[in-house]
Symmetry: C2
Subunit: 167 residues, 2 copies
């Protein structure tokens, strides 16, 4: 039997592995304490529990949206489809321009709800775990709605991708 041996350490091991991973694309939005909308594209959205319904996402605590996420109670989580490509790019672009335009409207709690998404959920933050310069955030899902019917948008190797065939 051959003993599996590492060929990389630390960041290289991390980077080479994640280059072989693909992820669904979501957008998280919130309000700052003074009511300004913030948001960002996330590939870390995951189901955390079904009962009670909970989701998680990760973010850098150096990100422009962190002060809002650190202090707010509510967030909106949006699932993106292929048509959501443009929204994903806006919400990953210049943070001063992310809410310039009519691609969103205020929903529950005044949270920015993005159009051209396949579904959105509004929830209450129940845990924020700081880990080095990042944080893991847990959200209890309170309500939501379906949006445009579309296939999920994926991200792999710095490119947006469609979902492929069933295996």
């Amino acid at each position: 039997m051959i003993t599996p041996a590492a060929d990389a350490t630390g960041f290289e091991a991390f980077a080479q592995a994640f280059r072989r991973h693909a992820a669904g694309v979501a957008v998280i939005t919130a309000l700052t304490p003074d009511g300004r909308p913030v948001g960002f594209t996330a590939t870390s959205l995951a189901s955390l529990a079904a009962v009670p319904p909970m989701a998680s996402f990760n973010m850098a605590r150096t990100a422009s949206s962190w002060p809002a996420i650190e202090h707010t109670e509510h967030v909106a989580i949006h699932m993106l489809g292929e048509e959501g490509f443009a929204v994903a790019q806006i919400m990953a672009g210049d943070n001063a321009l992310r809410f310039d335009g009519d691609h969103w409207a205020p929903g529950p709690h005044g949270l920015p709800i993005l159009k051209t998404t396949t579904a959105w959920m509004v929830g209450t933050i129940v845990a924020r775990t700081p880990v080095a310069e990042s944080a893991m955030i847990a959200v209890r899902i309170d309500e939501g709605a379906l949006g445009v019917p579309d296939e999920p948008l994926l991200y792999h190797e710095r490119s947006f991708r469609a979902l492929g065939a069933e295996l």
Copy 2:
């Protein structure tokens, strides 16, 4: 302007949104305190930080592997490709049979390293955040290796899927 309104609450809002999400497929393995291998298929693997390199995953604290994850220091994280389909099914199947066969071998720290994966990483658990009956786990990546060259395996609506075209 139309105010976005919810059409579902709680679990329904959560379930209908995640039915429109797709995720990459990973397998987490570990050892129990008495050295028995455990593992499970996860769709929650995410990048958490690059410096220092960290990844996160979620799991139910009712899962058969939780007692091992709760007490161990080290885990192995495997990225799955299309060829890893069979491994994903084994590691999501009967937990008494997940290590019956030659689809794995002991690697660093004696951790089970699965064959037919596109990459694996071994790391140190740095945070375990219990949330209701689940937990968010953060892992600092220490070392790893590439495996078979293959396109990422995805999971959507209870089916395994290939990655599709670049958009």
